[in-house]
């Protein structure tokens, strides 16, 4: 077996094993010297991103990839003497998982490049990079796994590492308070998910997602499990009414960590969609559950943007906008879920709504990451987060201003940037479902634009203040990192149709097709 074959066959396992290996050796590398540590983390992240892209290419070309841990062969899901039951832990990478892996690889690479210079002023960085690689392991594991308890374990790894990173700069105790809020809510959510996993195990004697999907009858216990899982995962992705940790955690974490926390929230959103579409599908009452998701989405959109307008802290404002944009994704996918049982409506506008929602996940990770990184540059150079104290930075920080403009236009949904592409798909399809929801979405978009015009004016415009006279442009690694995200924003805005055809439509098809998922794992049973 050649080296290329080896990488391609074992890619799902390497995707989790290599970041873990990198995380465990970071303290040793840090003791040697800091240059060695920087080379180590950059090299390991490049290898991980490369493996993620190879795996995604293979999945989009040839279909779902199975990887069974500890079996005689990589795709032997059902052991020969078990009577038709998959008993090992399986990684099932289908098109939706590959889509999320691409997002995580791009944002992870960019954030690492950015942190090489933004953290260079601090000492004892071994803890930072160890926790960062543990976060990467957690996200890759969550989106690749096909086993419910494995999903819970990776979710807990992610939330422990994120809590450690939010409290990283103790900041006089305020960051620790934010991390405490995030972590206690996160633990409560995880305990509820474990209750639901116990209910599924007790009913169906299986932990594999495909096995539960095959055996699912929608009993009363399943309804209780559905409620627990929706509550816990909606809390983890920052939907209203459980969004209270989002502004505190996003504003107190270092800027690079915040950009990756956005990806972590999207991974929990992926988990919610995986449970709703693959495990339950049409056995549950699609219209009711769809409307619940739609209501969560609309509340998130409206509450997020109205709380963002009076904010004075730049990162807190962006965090409320993150809550609002999560509402768009929930709205799009909720409309797709509500018409799932009706084949005519699904092909008319249901698929387009889901494609809009899922494309919005990608776009949101890109432009929100870009916005948080620019806010990080401003804080790095000036030292304050208060909007009232900033002003006239456009004279010296020209590249940062351009990146901020790109990010702000993208989040407001202005053509030709990528936010417009996904928002238009959501508007069109949701209008055919219920016109009022589309009108609310458009009004929220206008308020988003107003909020970011305010931020832009108060940060970059105006005369140059005397206390900021010596402020220089951002260092080069930070500019390269932001440049990658901005380039993707512009590129996906100019050519959205190839992206939708090649990346988003297969992902939506894989998500909505329950029997295809079961057949790929259990072999056509």
């Amino acid at each position: 077996m050649t080296f290329a074959d080896f990488i391609v066959t074992n890619a799902p396992a390497l995707l989790v094993a290599i970041p873990l290996f990198a995380a465990f050796l970071c303290p040793v590398m840090g003791k040697i010297s800091s240059t060695v540590r920087n080379c180590w983390v950059m090299g390991m992240m490049l290898i991980t991103a490369a493996i993620a892209f190879i795996l995604a290419y293979r999945v989009f070309a040839t279909g779902p990839v199975l990887y069974v841990f500890g079996a005689a062969a990589a795709n032997l899901a059902i052991p020969l003497d078990s009577g038709g039951i998959p008993i090992r832990i399986i990684f099932t990478v289908d098109a939706m998982s590959a889509f999320m892996e691409i997002i995580c690889a791009i944002v992870g690479l960019t954030v690492l490049l950015y942190s090489l210079s933004s953290e260079s002023r601090n000492s004892s960085l071994e803890g930072y990079y160890t926790l960062f690689f543990l976060m990467i392991t957690g996200v890759f594991g969550m989106v690749s796994t096909g086993d419910l308890f494995n999903f819970f374990v990776f979710l807990e790894i992610l939330s422990l590492a994120s809590a450690g990173m939010i409290a990283y700069r103790i900041d006089g105790g305020i960051a620790v308070e934010a991390a405490l809020k995030y972590f206690i809510l996160s633990t409560l959510g995880a305990i509820f998910i474990l209750f639901a996993i116990g209910i599924f195990y007790g009913e169906y004697n299986a932990l594999n997602m495909a096995m539960i999907a095959q055996r699912m009858q929608y009993t009363m216990l399943d309804k209780i499990a559905l409620v627990l899982i929706i509550a816990a995962l909606a809390m983890k992705c920052g939907a209203v009414p459980l969004h209270f940790w989002t502004p505190d955690a996003y504003s107190m974490a270092p800027a690079s960590v915040t950009a990756f926390l956005v990806v972590a929230s999207q991974a929990s959103l992926y988990g919610l969609f995986r449970v709703l579409f693959t495990m339950y599908n049409i056995t549950m009452n699609c219209v009711t559950v769809g409307w619940i998701i739609i209501i969560l989405g609309v509340l998130s959109m409206v509450v997020g943007v109205t709380m963002a307008i009076p904010q004075k802290d730049i990162k807190r404002l962006m965090a409320y906008h993150a809550v609002s944009q999560t509402g768009y994704m929930l709205l799009g996918v909720g409309v797709g879920l509500a018409v799932l049982g009706n084949a005519a409506l699904t092909s008319a506008f249901g698929s387009m709504a889901m494609e809009g929602g899922i494309f919005h996940i990608f776009n949101h990770a890109m432009y929100k990451g870009l916005l948080f990184l620019t806010a990080g540059v401003i804080v790095y150079r000036i030292g304050t987060r208060d909007l009232n104290k900033m002003g006239g930075l456009g004279h010296t920080m020209k590249y940062t201003m351009i990146f901020f403009i790109i990010g702000a236009l993208a989040i407001a949904g202005i053509p030709p940037l990528n936010g417009f592409a996904s928002k238009q798909m959501i508007y069109e399809s949701v209008y055919l479902f219920n016109p009022i929801l589309a009108i609310i979405a458009m009004v929220v978009s206008i308020l988003t634009l107003a909020s970011f015009v305010k931020v832009f004016h108060s940060v970059f415009m105006g005369p140059q203040l005397p206390e900021y006279a010596g402020v220089k442009e951002a260092p080069l690694p930070m500019l390269i990192g932001m440049g990658i995200l901005a380039a993707i924003c512009i590129l996906f805005g100019l050519f959205p149709q190839p992206v939708v055809d090649m990346l988003v439509a297969p992902a939506v098809h894989a998500l909505a097709d329950q029997s295809g998922y079961i057949a790929s794992v259990l072999g056509g049973a």
Binding site: F149, V153, E156, L160, A163, G164, A167, I170, G172, G173, I174, V176, E177, A178, A179, L180, F183, I184, T187, L188, A190, I191, L194, F195, I197, G198, Y201, G202, L207, P247, D248, S251, M252, M307, P310, Q311, R316
Partner: protein, 114 residues
Amino acid sequence: MLWNLPLITVVVLTLIGLVTVLLKKNIIKILLGINILESAVNLFLVSLGYREGGVAPIFTLAPSELMVLPTPQALVLTSIVIGVATSALVLSFAMVLKKKYGTVDINEIRRLHG
């Protein structure tokens, strides 16, 4: 009635744990409430594996061949380890907060509003 005793205990422990987490003001007491909730979930998982007349699922010098299910026991082991890590992290946060603010009362340490 007797056979339902583990599940009744699970419900009672969950209620006690939720009330503690929601109503108490001291961080250490909130952490103890989280630990009680973890114990409730672990008890629930282990009690799912019970088979009537079964012994512990260990083949070394076992009294009989009829055993309870071992899979929930593996899940509970993982959950206990996660609980230990959770407790260690929240206690570290409590130590840092005590050093910076002098108190662990959650009403006194609130600085983030809006």
